[in-house]
Symmetry: C2
Subunit: 414 residues, 2 copies
Amino acid sequence: MELLDICKNAKAARIDMLKLSTGEKNDALLAVAKGLLADSDKILDANRKDYENGQKNGMHQGLLDRLKLDEKRIEAMADGIRQVAELEDPIGQEIEHFVRPNGLKIKKVRVPLGVVGIIYESRPNVTADAFALTFKSGNVAILKGGSDAINSNIAITNSIRNTLKGLNIVADAIQLIENTDRQVTTDFMKMNDYVDVLIPRGSAGLIRAVVENSNIPVIETGTGNCHIYVDKDADFEKAIPIIINAKTQRIGVCNAAESLIVHEDIKNDFLPLFEKAMKEHSVEIRADRESKALMPLAIDATEDDFGREYLDYIISVKTVKNVDEAIAHINKYGTGHSEAIITENKENADRFLALVDAACVYVNASTRFTDGFEFGFGAEIGISTQKLHARGPMGLKELTSYKYQICGNGQTRV
Amino acid sequence: MELLDICKNAKAARIDMLKLSTGEKNDALLAVAKGLLADSDKILDANRKDYENGQKNGMHQGLLDRLKLDEKRIEAMADGIRQVAELEDPIGQEIEHFVRPNGLKIKKVRVPLGVVGIIYESRPNVTADAFALTFKSGNVAILKGGSDAINSNIAITNSIRNTLKGLNIVADAIQLIENTDRQVTTDFMKMNDYVDVLIPRGSAGLIRAVVENSNIPVIETGTGNCHIYVDKDADFEKAIPIIINAKTQRIGVCNAAESLIVHEDIKNDFLPLFEKAMKEHSVEIRADRESKALMPLAIDATEDDFGREYLDYIISVKTVKNVDEAIAHINKYGTGHSEAIITENKENADRFLALVDAACVYVNASTRFTDGFEFGFGAEIGISTQKLHARGPMGLKELTSYKYQICGNGQTRV
């Protein structure tokens, strides 16, 4: 189908979505989960094609692993959809209401965003995942997955659409852009007359391309140059496990720590402990001059290191004179994702919480907690690093907008 | 100053803004108001230059009127700033808090957006107005006004900056881009590393240009193709005054009505009353076939008429079979601004409120109420017609974002 028709269908379908009750949406999600399991042979066949094409095209083993589906992964997709069915429905919630002196009753209620575009890379499970979240929040999804997973994505989308059709629910609640031509992706980003928001999920390069080319409002997700600042009043027994967790529990994620900031008053006592812990976890240390002197294994950090999201077993180290210098360093080099202070000093903790400009600011905890599930949202469509609309982990509520419903009895403006 | 330096200064100033208390911000606003009055000679001199240049360049009388300042208009600017000082400060408000099973205490608090760019056209009072709203909400403003008002804008900005300097408050809380080269405006829209949100205020052409060129998240404001649907169960004594008000009280504004939709069951009784009212207010009627037959003064509406925001003494008329057809027409041609139903039928009213996709949906009231002051926000930076971030009238709260402050005692992720 032509891109324009996909967009027009989506815009029309948004009104049908408004008519669904919470119960109807949940029943549909459970049916979709069941349908995916029933269609697993077809989906696995399609996935095999993608996998073979990937092998032929010399795709990296890591990417091939992410691409590959099996019975267990399809079950995990179905489970994910069932979990979303159990979450609270944000749509229709009254956010506030007030009565004006002229008698107008104004109610602010939560509504879907409308048409949500999602551009993502090779993992086909995103297709089912993104559908569940957008559908539960009353939105219509237009998906543009990576060309490497096109057959898998078509099979998954067809399964979902067939289930919806069987229930007499608008199948255009989910549409996949099947044309893998790059130009189509660029054209898609100009469809602001039809699409209300665009969420890119994937590499920094993908996200940058979307931000630079989209006329549709974008929610930027994902880049995290996260710092841990060990204050002069830090409890080292908290600091070391937190740093190990934030740096090494999973290195390739946006909420992993990339840089240690240390107060100069404690550097002599703390850095040897830190170096030992990093050595035990095979983490390379790139240190500024003051800190390097205390860590024989460290190498020199360059200016460039402080702005880097390594996503690797590497950490940079910066020494500061006080909490204000730590805050200034973070506000200069951070990406506004997740930042932590380790301290027993209430005043410094409060200053850090107030003055660090980031989605999530921590005292004595690992930055790894920035996550929709860890926050109790039950689901996550991404972690926003912009300040418009949603910031930090985005669950169902972050996929909504609001409208004002105003009731009068003939009021006119004077 | 170079654009890049302006943006860097703004980004640095955002942290200084976080340090100001509500009292300090309010005192500064009152001092700025006083300063503008004290500087009124300088401002009027500068404005005279702009006015003379406008005359020389053959500027329209309407635009010249909007450009012109006098003592009274400067007093109105100062009054506006004082009113903003009296409004509640949204910054620091706790939106919600929760404790996770692992003991992490998570607080969601309101924070400034950071750096707000505003691109606007010739009215110089916007300069003072935009400053007051962004400053009170803890934001830093970068203003790009129209070249026609450049001297006035420089004089106003200098006055504000001097007052801030005198109070030892960061003067870069407000910066004006003085370079009137068009390329600079385009370059400004690419400064997403420094600017958190861009708000265009002005013509539809300006807004479109910003949406198409900006890499910075944009809040789209202003276009309103607003409808009034007179249902079969309408009270005509409410309908006629509401239509007169919505169409004629101020024709050039985004919340004015542009189109009437009428239920066919009542067209015979209602349209003659409507035509008489429009005639009395010199409003031209462009009607579909069914309704035109009942209104001798009406001319034929074309397809194009239904998509038009006239901003003029013109109204289109469309006949429908039922409320669903009215809703579908509005969802097709509306701009998601303000839409009204006139009915005594609760079921139809509820259906309209639920299924019309617009920022503000009215029952038995004029669309002209879509306004920050009428909503009781005390101020307005614009009316958003997008669904991301803010929708409808935007006051101080809509100029904020939030952050999560998370306190632990050593938690690490498992």
